[in-house]
Amino acid sequence: MHAQETTIRLSLYGTEGSRTTLRAWTNITQVLEALGMDAVPVEFVDVLHHPERTFDDGVLVTPTLIVLSEDKRHVLVGTVEDTSILREILAVQVMEQ
């Protein structure tokens, strides 16, 4: 998992205390644990504290998860209730690495 730790970045944009953000966080960590990628850190970006970064990263609603892997960028809008998409993205990243 060394490659994962260095090349995959997950940033969750949300607001602290938000119910939907918490749901998204829970779903993301569950997917990571299920894939054995629980070492991959998930950066939490509080949009209220980082509005400029939020805007620059093209985040329009919270929660939004951005998965960065080298040259690829995936944006998942919402609470990641459908975890299959995130699973697929992470699986592809792992395979490519």
């Binding site: 939907t20 805007f55 093209g58 985040v59 329009l60 609603v61 939004t64 944006v75 809008v77 919402g78 209730e81 459908d82 299959s84 998409i85």
Partner: protein
């Protein structure tokens, strides 16, 4: 840079500026270059022009200078030659002997004229006389020389400068300058000549340094070159063909011109000066190349400068172009960045807007239509559609659309499979971007998309919280219209939409709950401003016209309450403030809210609610009108029940196992207690009942509670506090009482009622007997009328037959007794005809004293006690006398051994209480007559039957049993009252209560009553339904001398009257069949015969002319039965009455 993003116009402006700057830069560079070139050209041109002008001027000036120089040289030479010539001439004048002197002179001249090469003195023969030539032989002949010939041949030739010639001695080219030597005689004396080498001029010219390629020419005016520098090798050559000699010299002695290219191909600027005195021409030809050499350098320098400038500018331009290109690149990047920034900002703004609207809108279709529109406007694309796929269905259903050409078809369903853009998106559950439908391979664009000319599109899935799915599709008529950010934007909007659906669902559920509450609810923020109201509140406000529907958010509820006049509103406002301030947990109050159209009550309840902005309040107004009304009704009912219980004239006792729960005052009164509290203080209410009743009522109680049968109404003996027993009627029933059961006993003290009932029963029995006896008496009277009449006739006709007369007399007596009997019966039955009038009872009683004394006998002491101010009474005095007499006779019979009998009369008042206790007694003022004896009295049972007819304690044959009955009937018919008080062995008192008369007492005039004789001519119409009576009476009247016409009923009698036959009297029975009574007939007859008197007869007191035993006023009545005498008297009276009229 400003924080505010520039608009696209501003970005275009920047790009245009860069481009314009690039053009300007190019133009400036070109302008600078052109200006430099122009300036340089102008400068070079000017310089060239100046150089040319300077060259002309210099050439001319130099030519003039050189000409002057030449003149000077030649003049010096000429002066020297003239001096020499003078010496020669002098010499010649001396014969030519001074040769040495001449030589010296030549040498001296040569020395003086440094410019000459040699000086030669020729003799007139052309031979050398002296010279500076070395090695020349004397006498050398030069006479062939031109200059010799010129001088020789032209005495005025003066100084003659000849063309260059080659020296014969030195074989060098020289220019001969000669002067004539004139002999003293004027003849030609020879020639002095100086030769100047061309090199002299050439050297001199060379020193002028006019340029290596320029030339100075000294030539003979014929064109022969004398000297030339450089290229002095042309000396002697002729330039006669050259323009100077062939063209310019002829036109001007001096001037300049541009010589055409010479043999060397060069053009020169030539200045010339004609030395006319010596026939020489000096020309200075400046080589144009040399003239322009500095110019050429300048040109070169300028050109180089221009080239350098051009190079610099070009380099600058290249650099600038690069800079501009980079700038433009940066601008493009910046513009793209700005556009992206703007696009993202617009998207963020759109998301923010839609998020705000999603939180506000309750109308799903309106919100979704707004979403579609905002998406199109934000992304600057043409079409948007929001589709929904219900579980189990295969076709999408359009929820909203925007921009479609076929708006009508917006609701057309789209296939949900993976064959369409939307379907594919849904299948893959990911955003799906198509740059161009024309090249799309993954699916086929729907015909609808193609029909709407869609070229590119993005679809994102919608995952709805209710389990449904949907697709948000955006389409453009431009290929590749979408960027990565657009997909994120659409996903964000899709997330908003799904969130909206979820919130809408939750909102509707919450609203349903909120609206379902039967209360008017509003939520206030910490300032008291209304944040939310439910339907109940809204409806109440609309119904009462309180506020506009959508104006709640602008309303401060505290202000509304403060402004309300009702004190409850102010209390509510204060409570809300305290709750918001945290000083109060909750608050509730009830208040009335009435309007002209309704009366309502509410319960206002306030509780805190924690909002983001602080503590607010939830205000609930619950309509408790029904509850209040119910409570009011219950309270009123309770009060009514309490009043009923309290005021009920029935004893109410609720007890549980004989422990009192409720007792009313009547119960207390009934049992002799002071108040109900005394009853409630009893530990066991069974003690209220007789000892021998307790077991029975306890059994009833237990059965009643267990549901077994027990009588609901029964009689029971109660025991008053004073120990007296009372008759009770108990209506008992079980009731729920709290958590248990109890029995409610409704007790009625029927002790009095029992007595009353007994009395009533007695009265009813008497009434029945009366009705019976009355009816019998009526029929008897008819019969007795016939019997009595016939007995009278028979008695009168049997005067000769003693036996027949005696039998007739017995029959007549029996008939009279029968009539008396029926009269008593009618009296008892209160159906006798009375004539009550205001009567002085004292007089009546006083008038009877003698009669009573005789009737009572000596053993009985009569006492009469009448008060002085005795009221008059309304009574038939004759009947009253009979009644008193009857009572006295009964008293006498009760005192066979003698005693006392007291008749007293006084005034009395019977009050309500007395009236309530005695049936048929009206409260009021009465005259009471009491007859008291000291006889053996009666027991209670006997006394209770004393008024019954035919009841008697006397032995058979001594009493009819109708005495007290008659008195009873008479008193009752008189509206009076009779009471009997008797005790065995103590005597009896019977009290008669006669109603007080308020009219004046009328004096009776019995003495004026006279029997008038019958009128012979009288014609009487007799109407009687009983044919026996009718025949009998008709016979009797005819015997009395009257003419009789009889009729069996009213209608026939009326027909007779209508026939016009005259009658003097209508004698009619009252009660008749046929629907017309005697009174009716009399009334009809009065209409036909107003003056005809009417005599009624009846055997029954209650009839149309007798009301309540009293004869109507003006009515003349002959009661049945009657004797013929009574008939004759009454008929005569009737006829006389008519006659009196």
């Amino acid at each position: 840079m400003s924080d505010q993003p520039k608009s696209f116009d501003a970005e275009e402006h920047d790009t245009v500026n860069v481009r314009r700057l690039r053009g300007v830069a190019r133009t400036v560079v070109a302008a600078i270059l052109l200006a430099a070139i122009a300036a340089t050209g102008l400068e070079l041109y000017t310089e060239r022009k100046n150089l040319l002008e300077d060259a002309h001027r210099e050439a001319k000036t130099l030519a003039v200078s050189l000409a002057e120089h030449t003149r000077y040289v030649l003049e010096i030479t000429d002066l020297a030659l003239q001096h020499l010539a003078q010496q020669v001439e002098q010499d010649l004048g001396q014969g030519g002997t001074g040769h040495q002197n001449l030589i010296d002179a030549v040498k001296l001249t040569a020395e003086r004229i440094g410019t000459v090469q040699n000086i030669i003195v020729l003799g007139n023969d052309g031979r050398i006389r002296a010279s500076t030539l070395q090695g020349v032989a004397a006498g050398t002949d030069f006479s062939d020389r031109t200059y010799f010939r010129v001088q020789r041949d032209n005495p005025n030739a003066g100084l003659f400068v000849g063309t260059p010639i080659t020296g014969r001695v030195e074989n060098i080219i020289v220019v001969p300058i000669s002067r004539r030597i004139t002999a003293a005689d004027g003849t030609f004396g020879g020639v002095v000549m100086a030769t100047i080498g061309p090199g002299y001029f050439a050297s001199y010219y060379t020193t002028l340094n006019v340029g290596s390629r320029s030339a100075i020419l000294l030539a003979h005016e014929t064109g022969t070159v004398i000297a030339r520098a450089p290229a002095n090798d042309t000396v002697g050559l002729s330039f006669a063909e050259r323009p100077l000699f062939s063209e310019y010299l002829e036109n001007a002695p001096a001037g300049t011109y541009v010589s055409p290219p010479q043999s060397d191909g060069e053009i020169r600027i030539t200045g010339y000066e004609h030395i006319d005195r010596y026939g020489l021409v000096v020309a200075v030809a400046k080589h144009r190349g040399e003239i322009f050499a500095p110019w050429y350098r300048n040109v070169a320098y300028h050109t180089l400068g221009l080239l350098l400038l051009t190079a610099f500018l070009a380099g600058s331009m290249v650099y600038a172009q690069g800079f501009f290109k980079h700038e433009e690149f940066l601008l493009v990047r910046l513009r793209e960045g700005r556009r992206r920034y703007m696009r993202r900002a617009m998207q963020q703004r759109a998301v923010s807007l839609l998020s705000e609207r999603a939180g506000m809108s309750e109308q799903r279709d309106e919100f979704l239509a707004n979403v579609a529109q905002v998406i199109c406007k934000t992304l600057n694309v043409e079409m948007c559609q929001i589709l929904r796929l219900e579980p189990g269905e295969e076709l999408f259903r359009s929820l909203a659309g925007y921009g479609w050409a076929d708006e009508v078809e917006v609701s057309v369903h789209a296939a949900s499979g993976g064959f369409t853009h939307a379907g594919k998106c849904l299948v893959e559950s990911m955003p799906l971007v198509t740059g161009d439908y024309a090249t799309e391979q993954r699916f086929e664009a729907s015909t609808r998309l193609l029909r709407n000319q869609a070229r590119s599109g993005v679809t994102v899935p919608l995952r709805l919280s209710d389990g449904g799915q949907g697709v948000l599709g955006v389409y453009s008529r431009t290929a590749g219209a979408f960027q990565d950010d657009d997909t994120v934007f659409l996903e964000s909007v899709a997330y908003l939409v799904t969130g909206y659906f979820e919130r809408l669902r939750e909102y509707r559920l919450r609203k349903a709950v909120l609206d379902g509450v039967a209360a008017n609810i509003c939520v206030l923020n910490p300032e008291g401003r209304i944040l939310l109201v439910n339907d109940g509140w809204q409806s109440f406000a609309e119904e009462n016209g309180l506020q506009a529907v959508r104006a709640w958010n602008d309303l401060n509820y505290l202000d509304v309450c403060d402004a309300a006049p009702e004190p409850e509103a102010v209390d509510l406002a204060n409570a809300i403030r305290r709750i918001i301030a945290g000083d109060l947990d909750r608050f509730a109050q009830e208040y009335a809210c009435h309007s002209p159209g309704s009366r309502k009550w509410f319960r206002a309840m306030v509780s805190p609610v924690h909002l983001d902005e602080g503590i607010g309040a939830i205000v609930m107004h619950v309509d408790i009108t029904e509850l209040v009304l119910a409570e009011t009704e219950a309270e009123q009912t309770k009060k009514r029940l309490e009043t009923l219980v309290r005021e009920a004239k029935i004893g109410i006792l609720v007890h549980s196992d004989f422990k009192p729960l409720v007792a009313n005052e009547e119960l207390a009164t009934m049992f002799g207690y002071d108040d109900a509290g005394d009853i409630m203080a009893l530990g066991d209410v069974s003690m209220l009942f007789a000892d021998d009743e307790r077991e029975r009522i306890t059994g009833y109680y237990n059965k009643r509670l267990t549901g077994d049968f027990s009588p609901g109404l029964y009689s029971v003996k109660g025991v008053r506090l004073d120990g007296a027993e009372i008759d009770l009627e108990n209506r008992a029933f079980p009731i729920d009482w709290g958590t248990g059961r109890a029995v409610c006993a409704m007790l009625t003290d029927v002790t009095e009622q029992r007595l009353l009932e007994e009395r009533m029963s007695e009265a009813q029995r008497l009434e029945s007997i009366g009705q019976l006896t009355g009816g019998i008496a009526h029929d008897f009277n008819n019969l007795l009328t016939v019997i009595l009449g016939n007995a009278e006739v028979l008695s009168k006709r049997s005067t000769s037959d003693e036996m027949s007369r005696k039998l007739a007399s017995i029959m007549l007596h029996a008939a009279k007794r029968g009539a008396d009997l029926t009269s008593r019966l009618l009296a008892f039955a209160r159906r006798q005809v009375l004539d009550p009038r205001p009567s002085d009872i004292a007089t009546v009683v006083a008038g009877m004293e003698d009669l009573l004394t005789r009737t009572l006998g000596e053993d009985i002491e009569l006492n009469v006690d009448v008060v002085d101010d005795l009221w008059p009474a309304m009574v038939d005095t004759a009947q009253l006398e009979a009644a008193i007499l009857n009572l006295c006779i009964n008293a006498r019979d009760a005192m066979p051994g003698g005693g006392y009998l007291t008749v007293e009369a006084h005034n009395t008042r019977l009050d309500e209480e007395y009236s309530s206790r005695h049936a048929d007694v009206e409260p009021g003022e009465y005259v009471m007559i009491a007859v008291t004896d000291s006889g053996f009295g009666m027991d209670e049972e006997t006394a209770s039957k004393a008024f019954e007819p035919f009841f008697t304690t006397k032995e058979v044959g001594q009493g009819t049993g109708l005495g007290l009955s008659m008195v009873f009937g008479f008193i009752k018919q008189t509206n009076g009252h009779i009471r009997i008080y008797s005790e065995v062995d103590s005597g009896t008192t019977i009290k008669l209560y006669l109603p007080r008369a308020h009219d004046e007492i009328q004096e009776t005039d019995d003495d004026n009553q006279t029997v008038h004789a019958a009128a012979d001519y009288a014609h009487i119409l007799l109407v009687e339904d009983d044919h026996l009576v009718r025949e009998h009476v008709s016979t009797q009247l005819e015997q009395l001398g009257y003419t009789i016409t009889s009729a069996p009923n009213g209608p026939e009698a009326l027909a007779i009257l209508e026939g016009g036959e005259p009658f003097d009297l209508l004698f009619t029975d009252v009660v008749m069949p046929g629907g017309m009574s005697g009174k009716d007939l009399a009334d009809r007859a009065a209409a036909l015969r107003p003056n005809m008197p009417v005599l009624f007869t009846t055997g029954y007191a209650e009839s149309a002319i007798i009301h309540q035993g009293r004869l109507d006023k003006g009515i003349l009545l002959l009661p049945k039965p009657y004797t013929i005498g009574e008939l004759a008297e009454k008929v005569a009276c009737a006829l006389n009455g008519a006659a009196d009229k």
